[in-house]
């Protein structure tokens, strides 16, 4: 019983780490551009496909595949931002939302045309041995360890980056007050591009990690994790980096436990119900700051 709970906890943290990495991208983009980037989930899918192609068609080693997919998604993120979102900088936020949905449809259907609709099996690419503890009573997959480790490294790196570097400072300034930041001589456009680049690069990592744990790869692979990560970002307080990490890991643990102990069919319903309850108690999310309206 104890071992089972522990296994579920580790699986939950592993899934949650993937959500957290995706949610970081959501929350950073929201913080700076004040837009819900619904295409973010599909960048995950693109990242996973790039890694898959690099390894199985080009015969590259796995680590090169991951690097290639990070580079590919970063470039994709910058291009999408330039072409689709930049012209809408001063448009109503709903127009930007619909554009993001358009980009999401575009990426999904482009992937469908290029890669076909049949699911690709990702597991053949990277296989790692599992870890056995307590004489085999507790088995932890190497994927879970790798995912949690990656999440921690990314969290620490991002916190250092936004806290210590000049670019990070510019990002925080832009999300605080874009106009004032511009008056201080910060190049707002390149700062926003930078955020999209980081967010998309993280999405590529998340895509590879997710497909290691759930190895079927389809053009729609990214959409549900995208929605869950968005939920995680809101749960933690959208715009807050530690909030995204906390929200993601909590969501993953809740989902795995709901699947194990309640019902696989309504696990998602439980996840969303928890979100609603938390938002009713803390309307700005767990770590979000409530904003008072001024007359």
């Amino acid at each position: 019983m104890g071992v089972e709970v522990l296994t579920n906890l580790i699986n939950g943290m592993s899934l949650g780490s993937v959500y957290a990495i995706i949610a970081l991208g959501y929350t950073m983009v929201y913080g700076i551009a004040k837009m819900l980037n619904f295409a973010h989930g599909d960048v995950i899918m693109v990242g996973a496909y790039i890694c898959f192609c690099a390894v199985s068609y080009l015969g590259l080693p796995a680590i090169a595949g991951v690097a290639l997919s990070i580079v590919g998604c970063t470039v994709l993120g910058i291009i999408v931002e330039r072409l689709a979102y930049k012209p809408l900088r001063n448009a109503p936020s709903l127009n930007v939302l619909i554009t993001a949905i358009g980009v999401s449809y575009f990426l999904q259907n482009a992937a469908l045309l290029i890669m076909g609709s049949d699911p690709k099996s990702f597991s053949s690419i990277i296989s790692l041995p599992a870890l056995n503890l307590f004489d085999g009573a507790l088995t932890i997959s190497a994927t879970a360890v790798l995912t949690i480790f990656a999440c921690v490294v990314i969290m620490v790196a991002l916190t250092m980056f936004t806290g210590k570097t000049k670019m990070g400072k510019a990002m925080r300034a832009c999300s605080e007050d874009r106009d004032a930041a511009q008056l201080m001589g910060i190049n707002v456009n390149s700062t926003i591009s930078m955020v999209f680049a980081i967010g998309s690069g993280l999405a590529a990592i998340a895509g590879v990690l997710m497909c290691l744990a759930y190895p079927t790869l389809m053009p729609t692979t990214g959409s549900m994790p995208g929605i869950k990560a968005f939920t995680a970002a809101v749960l933690g307080g959208i715009g807050s980096i530690p909030g995204a990490a906390l929200g993601g890991i909590l969501l993953g643990i809740i989902e795995i436990f709901a699947r194990a102990y309640i019902s696989t069919q309504i696990a998602d319903a439980v996840v969303f119900a928890v979100l609603i309850v938390i938002l009713l108690i803390r309307p700005a999310g767990l770590l979000g700051k409530p904003v008072n309206e001024k007359v």
Partner: protein
């Protein structure tokens, strides 16, 4: 007395109804002449359903200014309760198809309205993007719960279960809703005429609400919540009113949609479906009812028209969507629009009005 001498509000109302009636007549005439392809005539009822859904969502998103991402949830509540209602009525000897449909639509609308009201109470405590994510969450919860819902009817009455169809304990009954397999064996009683009737009712409800004292209160809350509050408007009440009415109308549209197919499954009514309806509303223009009607009809037909280039049609759909949103904000378009305006001497007043509208739309959703 010409149409120009009418009040602008009356004029736009007349135009809105005229669009629907003319579309109905045109399609009927063309259909009679055999000019409508099979694939398109199969789309007529779904078009009506989507038009109703877009108009009702416009009440929430455009008129009341709240971003709702769970409209398909209320559609599915209406669809499934409507199917159950029609199944029961048929079981107990009602054979008239019109009566069956009206019964199903009324039950579906009431059920969706009640769920909308219950969901609205917690949702309306929140604002902006937080409200949006909670409506999304409710939509997903409704979909998940419908997935484990089993309903059957026999001579003793209705049977419910949340485990499987065997535990319904029926005696020679009919299974109406079969969990993830959805509602099966639906009587296909939706017709284009019924669809147009539902569109007209939906438009009438929404326009009358918009032009009433309550409607003005709803729009006042959208434009400036604090100012509205300070003149004594109960903001929660009016936001909840718009949300509940829109949910009920979505329920009725769901019944229309469901009764056009022999099978519907809960996973059809997912987040993507909600987004699809939202796209119609934004493309048609916030708070603009005739805009919603036209864009819903156009965007439902577009993938059908593109069917010959099957593989690329959704790609083109996506590109059209992005271009429609992005192009009006590009410098080239704005310069061209300015040139056209100067050439044809359109007054400065129109420009100013456009700008006011644009900023209003922007503020309402921040």
């Amino acid at each position: 007395m010409g149409i120009k001498s009418l009040k602008p509000q009356t004029r736009s109302t007349i135009i809105t109804y005229a669009i629907v009636v003319i579309a109905f007549l045109a399609v009927t005439v063309l259909d009679g002449a055999g000019l409508i392809s099979n694939s398109l005539s199969g789309q007529l009822v779904p078009i009506c359903a989507y038009v109703s859904l877009a108009v009702s969502l416009n009440l929430v998103v455009g008129v009341s200014g709240e971003l709702s991402l769970g409209h398909a949830g209320f559609m599915s509540v209406g669809a499934f309760t409507g199917v159950v209602a029609a199944g029961c009525l048929a079981r107990f000897g009602v054979e008239n198809e019109l009566l069956l449909f009206v019964g199903a639509a009324v039950v579906g609308a009431i059920a969706a309205g009640v769920i909308g009201f219950l969901v609205g109470i917690p949702v309306m405590r929140l604002r902006g993007d937080y409200l949006a994510i909670v409506t999304l969450a409710f939509g997903e919860i409704i979909k998940n719960l419908l997935n484990i819902f089993y309903v059957g009817v026999d001579d003793a009455g209705l049977h419910f279960s949340m485990t499987d169809s065997a535990s319904l304990g029926m005696n020679q009954g009919v299974i109406l809703i079969n969990g993830p397999k959805g509602a099966v064996g639906i009587d296909k009683i939706s017709t284009f005429a019924l669809g147009i009737l539902l569109v007209l009712i939906t438009v009438a409800v929404v326009l009358n609400l918009m032009h009433s004292r309550d409607g003005r209160a709803i729009m006042a809350v959208r434009d400036n919540r604090i100012a509205a509050e300070s003149v004594g408007i109960n903001t929660t009440k009016y936001r909840l009113m718009a949300f509940t009415v829109a949910s009920a109308l979505a329920g009725a549209a769901g019944v229309l949609y469901a009764m056009n197919y022999s099978t519907i499954v809960p996973s059809q009514f997912d987040f993507n479906q909600s987004i699809l309806i939202l796209v119609y509303v934004v493309l048609g223009g916030m708070g603009n009812i005739s805009g919603s009607i036209i864009s819903a009809a156009f965007l439902t037909v577009l993938p059908e028209v593109l069917r010959p280039i099957n593989n690329y049609r959704m790609l083109i759909y996506a590109v059209v969507l992005i271009l429609v949103m992005v192009v009006p904000h590009t410098k080239i378009y704005q310069r061209a629009a300015d040139a056209v305006r100067r050439r044809f001497g359109k007054g400065e007043a129109d420009d100013a009005a456009d700008e006011v509208l644009a900023t209003e739309g922007g503020e309402a959703h921040e």
